[in-house]
């Protein structure tokens, strides 16, 4: 398994090479180099996964946790507390390797066509490599601090990629917002790490039964809660979700890679990584995670219904789906998959399937946007005629996300709903309702793009056509995975909360209910949006105008943030402080100088030029000294 180190080093190498030498490379050479490196990385990942999962299991039925590399990077001189870098392989990290390398490779290939001729093409590939490296480093982290390190790197590559079109003001603003919001959340993560480190005495992931963990039991819930804030930031949980919709200003493949498939699930991965501790010491915190996630899922779904920008819809759908994953994790009550631990596996499963179909959706959106030069739905409509492959891929993914069998999304979502029902029926119904909303807004999107009212005027001016092969091939691959993965792979064999293999089986009642509701939602969407004239949709929109507007404006959360940051933090804190600094602190020192000068002018009469006054002072001085000594 020593070879895994190259999974991280190769993209790094690619980043450094493209970053430094990119200027002198042609677009083609740079793209090929980046893609080739990623290809090797993907092969290595698959090889790793293959060897890992085919290796014999340990005696207790779990997969061995391998640490092929772990070296001290930064000494902390605190005994067991070290700051190590290394590679840790366990089922979830290996699975993540697959997800990341696959999606990343697809995006690399896709970008070849999508970014064709863009200025800064080399830079783009360099950043993609950087991101891939960071994300891979994050998932194989051997300790929480390494995770934090790569976590930050992931954040910065996201920043760089969102702001790729740095001459466009919205892109710049979005990149800034993404970075600052996640950075703010990372503060919680960092403090969580500090608390964890202090009370547990190490940064390594410790098992719940180790003495270190037990010693720090009292403070672990707090640490985990704070860490979750970091995760919530990256995974765009309410109220830290505001950056994600804006992040759609970046190139679309980037949205597919970072803001749909990989980076945004880092929070889920974090919770999964700390899962044993959550279960053992902080089940309540875990449930809070579930409530937050459920609310987020609902909120995002509601907003998604009212968006007209197709990437925004997808972004909110991403938020909503991540909510699903976290709900799944949050509703776990034990590490036994059969007794309340199903959610863990469900979350990972959904993470996997979601990564594939959501990446596919984004890539499709990219194809469409490239043809119509706009993100707005009203510029589209009737695209099925022009872009058949994209249409099919998009439809497959929509079906998957809506949970229609046999697409992969059905299986993973079913596990999640089962877990929710097992936890609490109310939770189950809520999540089912949200799933229905998902189906509705996804098909609203689908019909809006491919059917509905065609923007003839626009389409005659720029006739849309199918994307080139470099772009369609990834779509096809991802659709295929989406179609097959759910029923060909038994996920529970590989990933389970206690590490042991188990058979996940469909819970018929839940499955049927959810499928029926999903189909109903799709039908409603069909009636509302399929036709040229969308009478029902318009009238509904008119009737619930307030609600629609609020949802369209994402319930004004951004405005609240804007108010808090600009008015309160800048206006009420920073500016007064800056004023205070200039006028009070600095003013004090200036006053000292001024007063010395002023005093000098005030007492100048002392030096009157009159000799008699001089001697008078002389005498007085003498007498005063005598008095001083005598008294």
């Amino acid at each position: 398994m020593e070879i895994t180190i190259f999974i991280i080093l190769l993209p790094l190498l690619s980043f450094v090479f493209l970053g430094l030498a990119g200027k002198w490379l042609s677009h083609r050479a740079a793209g090929l180099f980046g893609t080739a490196v990623l290809g090797v990385v993907t092969i290595l990942s698959y090889y790793t996964a293959y060897t890992y999962f085919t290796a014999p299991r340990l005696a207790d039925g779990t997969f061995a946790t391998l640490v092929p590399y772990n070296f001290q990077w930064l000494p902390l001189f605190l005994g067991a507390m070290k700051f190590n870098l290394g590679v840790l392989l366990d089922p979830i990290s290996v699975m993540m390797l697959i997800v990341i390398s696959t999606v990343s490779l697809m995006v690399h290939i896709y970008s070849f066509g999508y970014m064709h001729g863009e200025r800064g093409f080399q830079r783009y590939y360099a950043f993609l490599s950087l991101f891939t490296m960071s994300m891979l480093g994050l998932v194989v982290a051997t300790n929480i601090f390494q995770m934090y390190l790569f976590w930050e790197l992931v954040g910065v590559s996201s920043y760089l990629l969102i702001g790729f079109y740095f001459t466009k003001a919205p892109a710049v603003a979005a990149s800034k917002k993404a970075f600052i919001v996640t950075r703010f959340a990372d503060l919680g993560f960092l403090i969580g790490i500090l608390i964890y480190g202090f009370y547990v005495g190490t940064f390594d992931f410790v098992g719940p039964n180790t003495s270190a963990a037990v010693g720090g039991a009292k403070m672990i819930p707090l640490a985990l809660g704070l860490m979750f804030i970091g995760g919530a930031g990256k995974s765009a949980m309410f109220p830290l979700h505001i950056w994600l919709p804006d992040a759609m200003e970046g190139p679309t493949p980037v949205s597919a890679l970072i803001h749909a498939a990989t980076m945004v699930v880092a929070g889920v991965y974090l919770v999964a990584r700390m899962f044993p501790l959550f279960i053992a010491f902080a089940p309540n915190v875990l449930h809070i995670v579930a409530y937050v996630a459920a609310f987020t899922a609902f909120y995002a779904a509601a907003v998604a219904i009212a968006q007209t920008d197709i990437k925004r819809v997808l972004a909110f759908s991403t938020i909503s789906q991540i909510g699903f994953m976290l709900v799944a994790l949050g509703v776990c009550t034990s590490v036994e998959p059969e007794a309340g631990g199903l959610g863990y596996m469900a979350a990972m499963f959904h993470l996997f399937t979601h990564a594939m179909f959501k990446a596919c959706l984004f890539l499709c959106a990219g194809c469409i946007i490239e043809q119509v030069h706009s993100n707005e739905m009203e510029m589209m409509g009737g695209m099925r005629k022009y872009m058949p492959i994209t249409h099919i891929a998009f439809l497959f993914s929509c079906l998957a996300i809506s949970g229609i069998p046999p697409f992969s999304g059905f299986f993973s979502k079913d596990e999640i709903l089962s877990a929710c029902f097992a936890f609490n029926p109310i939770m189950g119904w809520i999540m089912t309702a949200i799933a229905a909303m998902t189906a509705f807004y996804m098909f609203r999107l689908y019909y809006g793009i491919f059917w509905g009212k065609e923007n003839i005027e626009h389409h005659t001016a720029h006739k849309p056509h199918e994307a080139p092969a470099t772009m369609t091939i990834p779509l096809i691959i991802l659709s295929v995975i989406t179609f097959f993965f759910g029923w060909t792979v038994s996920f529970g064999h590989f990933i389970s909360p206690n590490g042991k293999s188990f058979d996940s089986h469909l819970e018929t009642s839940v499955a049927i209910t959810s499928v029926v509701i999903a189909v109903l939602s799709i039908l409603i969407a069909r009636t509302m949006y399929r036709n040229e004239k969308q009478v029902l949709a318009d009238s509904l929109q008119k009737r619930f105008k307030g609600l629609w507007t609020a949802a369209h404006h994402r319930f004004y959360i951004d405005e609240v943030y804007q108010f808090v940051t600009h008015r309160i933090i800048f206006g009420c804190v920073s500016r007064p402080i800056a004023w205070f600094d200039r006028h009070v602190v600095d003013g004090f020192f200036n006053f000292l100088a001024w007063s010395t000068n002023a005093l000098s002018y005030q007492i100048r009469g002392f030096q009157s030029g009159e000799i008699q006054q001089y001697t008078y002072v002389f005498l007085i001085g003498t007498l005063l000294l005598i008095l001083l000594l005598i008294l």
Binding site: G163, A169, F198, I577
Partner: protein, 496 residues
């Protein structure tokens, strides 16, 4: 001749060379040769030091030399280095080297400029090699006064005011420091001003420590931008010419932290423990307050100056935590901040030299016009906000982890408060980068500007390489520093 005295000797020879040089080419030759010699000496010293340590040298200070200077007053020219000073010397070597290139095209009075510049570096190097309090103080002041002329003559903006303010405030601090040093010397009853001697062979009564510790700490702290004595820094940095800002923020401000640690804390451990909390509060204010102030500044140099206040505050903050990790972090932060801020100031200077404005409201879209400087600026910014892979991250993390290991809840709480600065830093750095580099250039005069020249590239690349190198491979330097921190910190904790 002692290896260390080279660091004072080279600047002196450089000054001599400058004095006799007749034209610009000669001046530049002298400077490049001298600065390179300093850098090479610093690297050689580092290598020698590490070799000596790995060969088993256990003394606290290596390469010791003591020359009695003023026998009646027990003043000696004593030199010696431990890991901390080696790191600082390396930093100074790098900054002086890059500073030379950053002021390559400076006019007018180039010769005089470099003369004072070299005197400044002589002071800096001398300070870091000295272990005698008098000699240290001497070099400290040598490093301070050239600032007046460097800012006053070659600066920009309100240079006269800024130069005067900076000089007077720093000199005021050093005046207080003088009292502190004399207090230490006389109250310890030592027969030499040697720091090691005083630390090991003498104890200062606690009641006396309580008087002299604040004086010494504040004396050095002012240079380390301790709140509320930091106001010289924004004005001074804003008005100083590029290389001077670099040297001043990069190295000179480190004299403060170094001195606080080496003299104030080391020699007066009980007071450091007893009064530490007061200064901890002040430094925490520095950290957060500096960052918040930076958010609303519109002058590039002011932003960076306030950012320096924040980062240097972190140095003092960590030192006061009195444990090995935090202190190592503090020294790392000195190094890291020195390099980063030098890079920043270099870039600001280069941008200013082209656009003739530092007002962020007038700058935009520079990335397209000067890509090299733009990229450099983004890297500097990212390094500044503590991105992994750059030196800022390792320093800040070491500090935060170390500080959070303190057994006292108060210390841990303010650590968390100090942590918030990393978010605020991100805010102002990203706003700045977004404002001036990204977007479309709106000023048509700026469209015709050119990218960096070769000398500027040298300066920027060297600094970036150092920042990234330190950030990626921190192990060796971290170990070197922390080994030297141990005796001092153990002295501090034993006394507790």
């Amino acid at each position: 001749m002692n290896l260390l005295s080279i660091f004072v000797l080279i600047p002196l020879l450089m000054m001599l060379g400058l004095w006799i040089s007749r034209n610009l080419a000669q001046v530049r030759t002298v400077m490049v040769v001298g600065a390179s010699a300093l850098l090479i000496s610093a690297i050689t010293l580092t290598v020698c030091y590490l070799q000596a340590r790995s060969a088993g040298a256990t003394e606290e200070m290596l390469f010791r030399a003591d020359i009695i200077w003023y026998a009646p007053l027990n003043i000696a020219y004593s030199v010696g280095v431990d890991g901390i000073s080696v790191a600082m010397l390396l930093l100074s070597g790098i900054i002086v080297f890059t500073g030379t290139f950053a002021s390559w095209r400076l006019k007018p009075l180039t010769k005089e400029y470099f003369l004072w510049f070299t005197l400044l570096s002589a002071g800096v190097f001398g300070f870091f090699i000295s272990i005698d309090m008098f000699t240290m103080y001497l070099f400290y002041e040598v490093a301070l006064i050239p600032m007046y002329l460097l800012i006053g003559v070659w600066g920009s903006g309100r240079k006269e005011y800024a130069a005067m303010k900076l000089t007077l405030m720093l000199m005021g601090a050093s005046a207080i420091l003088l009292c502190g040093i004399l207090g230490i010397y006389f109250c310890s009853g030592a027969t030499s001003m040697n720091i090691l001697n005083i630390a090991h062979a003498h104890n200062i009564a606690v009641s006396q420590q309580l008087i002299w510790f604040p004086m010494t700490f504040v004396g050095f702290g002012v240079l380390g931008a301790l709140f509320p004595f930091h106001t010289w820094s924004p004005d001074g940095h804003a008005s100083a010419p590029t290389a001077v800002s670099m040297l001043h923020a990069g190295v000179l401000m480190k004299l403060g932290g170094y001195g606080c640690f080496r003299i104030a804390m080391f020699l007066m451990p009980q007071a450091a423990n007893q009064l530490g909390w007061i200064f901890l509060i002040l430094t925490t204010i520095s950290v957060v307050y500096g960052a918040l102030s930076a958010c609303v500044q519109t002058d590039l140099k002011y932003i960076n100056a306030y950012s320096s206040v924040s980062h240097c505050g972190l140095v003092l903050f960590a030192i006061l935590m009195i444990n090995q990790t935090a202190t190592t972090g503090a020294i790392l932060q000195m190094l890291s901040h020195g390099l980063m801020t030098a890079l920043f100031f270099a870039l600001i200077g280069m941008i200013y030299g082209r656009t003739h404005t530092r007002d962020t409201r007038e700058l935009s879209g520079l990335m397209r016009i000067m890509p090299f400087l733009g990229v450099g600026y983004v890297i500097a910014g990212l390094a500044n906000l503590g991105l992994p892979g750059f030196s800022g991250f390792i320093a800040e993390m070491t500090i935060f982890v170390g500080s959070f290991q303190h057994f006292d809840t108060f210390h841990r709480t303010i650590t968390i408060i100090a942590c918030t600065s990393i978010v605020i830093t991100a805010v102002y750095i990203l706003r700045l980068v977004g404002k001036i580099l990204y977007g479309v250039c709106t000023n048509e005069h700026h469209l015709k500007l050119t990218d960096a020249t070769w000398d500027e590239r040298v300066a920027v690349i060297v600094l970036i390489v150092c920042v990234a190198g330190l950030g990626m491979a921190p192990l060796w330097i971290s170990n070197m520093i922390s080994n030297s921190v141990v005796p001092i910190v153990s002295n501090l904790t034993l006394m507790h």
